[in-house]
């Protein structure tokens, strides 16, 4: 029964999204702009407003959350339902969980983060890099973003060559480690991992910081941002920017994924 209700809601929702901007080139469709979500802050406000809809019943609350879903989660461009049974079930559960636990999103929450795909400049090369950023409270009503992770294959410092010859000989100590200057020469630097203890895994964020600190690396620009939210019990969801000329545009929920409770911890 609930599934029929949700599908009916989807239909109403889709029909609202269907109209496009057909006006003179110099005028704006203000109604259309008001329905779009150009800022994550606005997404959060609208998400939290589902609480205000409770007084009008579950339908109103579900509708408030539905408007935050990217339509492509459910429908194709022709308005045909594409969501699998599993996806439909996930969406229904997701909305119910939000409703049951009166979830609200706050900037200071520790259970969300941003994933920023960046273009970086390493010496004369353009490379891709992913940064993870979290919000932190730094004073009463004072927050900031902090970089908390980095991801890129090249940050793992894979050696250019790996073979049994690339080791520090057991007698090096007797020579006061005479080979250290050679293995750390600029032209040999890309094999340095061969000489490192296995007990210490490479931490890409530390590598990144060192490269930035020495002036060898800088970030050119951010290509894409995805926000990950873990506030809804049993699920995580992502929010991405959908730039298109329709009501269902801007920062919208792009993925709803069940998460076992153990993973959430």
């Amino acid at each position: 029964m609930k599934r029929i209700f949700i599908i009916t809601l989807f239909s109403v929702f889709l029909s609202q999204m269907a109209y496009a901007q057909i006006l003179s080139p110099l005028f704006f469709n203000e109604e259309l702009l008001e329905s779009q979500i150009p800022q994550l802050d606005e997404f959060t406000k609208r998400f939290n407003s589902h609480i205000d809809s409770v007084q009008y019943g579950y339908d109103a609350e579900a509708r408030a959350i539905m408007k935050l879903l990217n339509r492509e989660l459910i429908w194709d461009s022709n308005g045909n339902l594409i969501a699998s049974d599993t996806m439909q079930k996930n969406v229904i559960d997701f909305i119910q969980n939000i409703s049951n636990s009166s979830i609200q999103l706050h900037f200071a929450d520790t259970s969300w983060f941003a994933r920023a795909e960046c273009s970086a400049q390493y010496k004369d090369k353009n490379l891709s890099l992913v940064l993870y950023l979290r919000t932190r409270t730094i004073g009463p009503d004072e927050f900031c973003w902090k970089i908390c992770g980095a991801e890129a294959d090249w940050l793992l410092l894979h050696p250019q060559k790996e073979n049994n010859g690339l080791i520090l000989s057991p007698i090096e100590n007797e020579l006061r480690f005479i080979s250290l200057p050679y293995i750390t020469k600029k032209e040999n630097g890309n094999n340095i991992l061969n000489y490192m203890s296995d007990e210490h895994a490479i931490d890409p964020l530390s590598v990144l910081m060192a490269l930035i600190y020495t002036g060898d690396l800088s970030i050119n620009f951010v290509k894409e941002i995805t926000y990950y939210f873990y506030q809804v019990p049993g699920y995580y969801f992502t929010v991405e920017d959908f730039d298109r000329k329709e009501a269902n545009a801007g920062w919208l929920i792009s993925r709803i994924q069940p998460v076992p409770n153990t993973e959430l911890k």
């Binding site: 080139p25 203000e30 702009l33 802050d41 004072e142």
Partner: protein, 201 residues
Amino acid sequence: MKKFFYLFACLLIMNIFPSAFAQQPTQSDFEAIHAEVGHMIERFERNVAYIGSKNSGETGKDTYIKSTLRLFIGDGKEYTDSYGNTWPAPHMQVSSTRTTTPINRTIPDYLNRLRGLTYAKVQITSADHYTLTNIYKVGDHYEAVATIYQKFCGYYSDGLRRYCDVTQKSIRVYIERITEYEGTRWKIRFGDIDVIDTQKQ
């Protein structure tokens, strides 16, 4: 006795310089800030339309460029914050579906390019609707982001062909509490602008 003297001195200083001890803005402060940001956006949009228009005189454009730069922190130039950190001039980052790398321009450069457009006729309009984020405390001041929409149409001399686009501009807004003899007011300045330019018409 000395303790009381210091306490009295501190209270006196707090009274004379209340802005040094940042108080949280009240609801009426937020309303005043929203209204002021709205006025600033209107002024910015009006100035941009004037600078881009072929009907505007060159002297007028000079005046409007100067007036627009005054809307920005550091008057659109490199500036030093109250902690002594130097920051580059506010800039505009333009992303487009046609290019993979965003284009970065300082605000004076953007305004000068706007002034020098070679179209026979230029029309720039703005949507009434704009969005302002929550206002966040950042060190000794507050910041927010205002998102506005602008349409640009440049017509070629044959009057038939035209280039039009729609941009979504997200503007960093610096909000500073100024305490004067008459009372407290909010000084608003714009900073960097992130422009998404995808909707060709």
